[in-house]
């Protein structure tokens, strides 16, 4: 398969989709050539952001793609939903902050697992999390 043309979208609605999303991310990352440790870090980050979609919204999707920066290869994960949006982004990025009974480590935790991390959100129009990891 041509990695450059790979652009995989996984619908995320139910908790079973979290397992699908992280398995797909792991599989694509493995084809890109990430180490076993990186595969686990990527799968864990995808698990947390997919969990946010299931926990807080009616559904969304995780889009996986292979990216390039000059000769460097990487994996991009976009998680987007049309949920309620995040009221206070800086608060949501703090360890331990949660509006549900979760541990509140999803966003800040995922950021630590990846190389690049960006959240865009507006009340009423959903949230998009973009994260990237580059091959060492």
């Amino acid at each position: 398969m041509d990695l450059n043309r790979t652009n995989q979208a996984i619908p995320v609605i139910h908790d079973t989709d979290i397992v699908e999303a992280r398995a797909a991310a792991r599989s694509l990352a493995s084809r890109v050539g990430f180490t076993e440790t990186d595969l686990v870090l990527i799968a864990s980050a995808v698990s947390e952001i997919a969990r946010n979609i299931v926990e807080y919204t009616k559904g969304g999707e995780v889009i996986l793609s292979v990216i390039h920066n000059h000769s460097r290869l990487g994996l991009q994960v976009i998680a987007r939903d049309q949920g309620p949006g995040i009221g206070d982004l800086s608060l949501a990025m703090k360890d331990g902050y949660s509006t549900s009974r979760s541990l509140g480590l999803g966003l800040p935790g995922s950021r630590r697992l990846m190389d690049e991390f960006r959240v865009e959100s507006a009340i009423g129009s959903g949230t998009t999390v973009t994260m990237r990891k580059w091959l060492a």
């Binding site: 686990v40 870090l41 979760s102 697992l113």
Partner: protein
């Protein structure tokens, strides 16, 4: 996906066979809690060797399970957290709290029989 629960003397061993959904994890927690209640088990071992992700939900559910088991006067030992998974858990800020861990089944049984060295 159901996790087989084996009774071995005073102990009960749950050996996870593949990736678990949230629903599977809740079933495992409740199944083990009721098993401990019914059979008056003294210890629970959960083997997570095959898991390549222990995210916030998995960690919380295992902590809850250990707490239920503790209230019943028994102990829980988690076995086989892979090195990469342990590293990811630290990065995510996840902690198992007072839940005991062991590298393999043998060490876990030793821990349940004789306590920490």
């Amino acid at each position: 996906m159901r996790v087989p629960i084996l009774k071995q003397g005073d102990y009960v061993i749950a050996s996870i066979q593949s990736a678990l959904t949230d629903e599977d994890l809740i079933q495992l927690r409740d199944g083990l809690a009721s098993h401990v209640g019914k059979h008056r088990s003294k210890g629970v071992i959960v083997d997570v060797t095959v898991l390549d992700v222990m995210d916030s939900f998995a960690t919380r559910t295992i902590r809850d399970l250990a707490q239920v088991v503790r209230l019943r006067g028994a102990k829980t030992v988690i076995v086989g957290i892979q090195p990469e998974v342990a590293f990811a858990m630290v990065q995510l800020g996840l902690e198992l709290g007072e839940v005991a861990t062991a590298l393999d089944l043998e060490e876990a049984l030793e821990l349940l029989r004789h306590g920490p060295k």
